[in-house]
Amino acid sequence: MEKVRHLSKATRSNLITYGLVTAAFIIMDLLIETGSASYSLMGLLVPICAYICLATSLNLVVGVSGELSLGHAGFMSIGAFTGIVVVQLLGSGTNDVVRMLIGLASAAATASVAGILIGWPVMRLQGDYLAIVTLAFGEIIKNLLNNFWLGVDKYGLHFSMKSAMALGLTDGGRVLINGPQGASGIPHLSSFFAGYLLIMFTLFVVLNLINSRSGRAIMAVRDNRIAAQSVGINVTKYRLMAFVIAAALAGMAGALYAMNYSSVMPKKFDFNTSILILVLVVLGGMGNIRGGVISAAVLTILPERLRFIGDFRMLIYALVLIGAMNLTYDTRLVEWRRKIREKFSAKRQGQDERGGVSGE
């Protein structure tokens, strides 16, 4: 009995999160079907999905594992360009769904390899090195891709760090990544439904990881590193695990994001994007997956909704952020929320007891 109640507490919370996302998806879908959604909102749907996935994955690093990562856009970028290249190489002969899945899988693979390369040396150190290294990583990836040309012709793939001409493509060859101009002619494979599925997959991975043996170890390292070591937990392994899984999920989100546009430039995935994702996580509450999902949706829509005030847009955006953060931790509001929660749990307990009696 004890066990059932304990399990159902975590499971109940997870089900609410899945249900919330599904309900939002169905409502949006109905709005689109009935033609009551504006074009600007419809254009935002896939980016919202991508940012929800990014916030959820970064939450795994910042909230669950307790590390500061400032280069999440770097993994997004790697995933985006890997996805584009793979999808282009597969060509339009392949089924779109299969293409998309292979694109996402390869995006996850390259992003996680990058995650291992970055994380392996850094995770062995103590302290805030990860923030510094990931900050540099994001910038390095952006600048590398700004000077990276990739093309394909009948002889296979060619790459260059000089120019498109240096690729030396034969007739009929295509440039896939064109330096600072990025990739263009991307097949439009992302859809709102694909975005919804990717959110569900990301939530599934992250929430299940948290409520498992490995997730407990990750949180143990966050809460007390020395105590975690003293009970035999390999600290490096579990910090790296959280970081690499987050990188892979960010890569997939990047691929989803890129395939919503016809062209994508490397400078889109810069430091500002990394900070934006971090803001989503912090505003939603570190370690609070559902909060991150909600704040990602709200903060992606907000700047677009504020377009009517023109130049003051970002000013208002900043004020909303500051206001929300202050209000969240206002002692009176915290107290009020606690009371509401108690009232609800008292009601539920009452129901449980009544249910138990009638059951007998």
């Binding site: 407990r216 809460d223 105590a227 070591q229 003293s230 035999g232």
Partner: protein, 289 residues
Amino acid sequence: MNRLEKTVTADQRQETKMVPVIVDEIIPERDRGRVALECRNLSVEFGGLKAVDDVNLAIGKTEIAGLIGPNGAGKTTFFNLLTNVYKPTRGSILLDKVDTAGMSCDRVCREGIARTFQNIRLFDSLSVEDNVKIGLHTQIQSGVLSGIFRLPKHWRSEREFHERALELLDIFHMADQANVPAGSLPYGDQRRLEIVRALATNPKVLLLDEPAAGMNPSETEELMQHILKIRNDFQIAILLIEHDMNLVMGVCEGIAVLNFGKIIAKGTPSQIQENPQVIEAYLGKQEED
């Protein structure tokens, strides 16, 4: 509060076979099998300061041993050496013939040394049950993929985690607090939870760093019963640092006294109480007039 009525009796102490306690000479080959942990010439220096200086110590299997000494004598440093938080400058630590000196902290735990901390180190934001489950981490295997994709192995191991965690919490009658966040437990319960978590790692040697700190006399009395019970039920060696002399003299079969990083005396509780060097270390030398 006092759930165990019995008090410590001399017969209870003789229940388990006693090993010639804390010894300083090199242990003869025939007695090796009876030793749980042995340190030879263990030393650590911090920039010329010898915090632990040439310590030779052996603890028998199923022995309860005490490590006492004035403040700053190097007791906790000695624990940190045994668990490899600090790497020894010299010497070896033999745990069942395996030299654990120089191993990483987590490896030392997997080899069989578990500890609690003087300044409590729990996973504060996690529940009491999760704290114990993390202690069981090395005991029950289940990979990351079976966790993410909820394979049958995950469910099987989670069931085992839950059952064994509650079983262990029952030692201190804490099973009803399983879902409380560890950080919000009262101080005494936090100390008890640390012991449960250390026990969950299935150690051969359990190191307790001031387990009775901050406890009142009746709680300390209860703790003594628990320490004896743990030794008898789990058949492990226990080494404890403690300032409460009632506890040390009450449960320890062998005592070592540390002062300025050196072992100044070893023996049974009664021998230690009469040792002039120990009295000098604690009270100072009597001036002759």
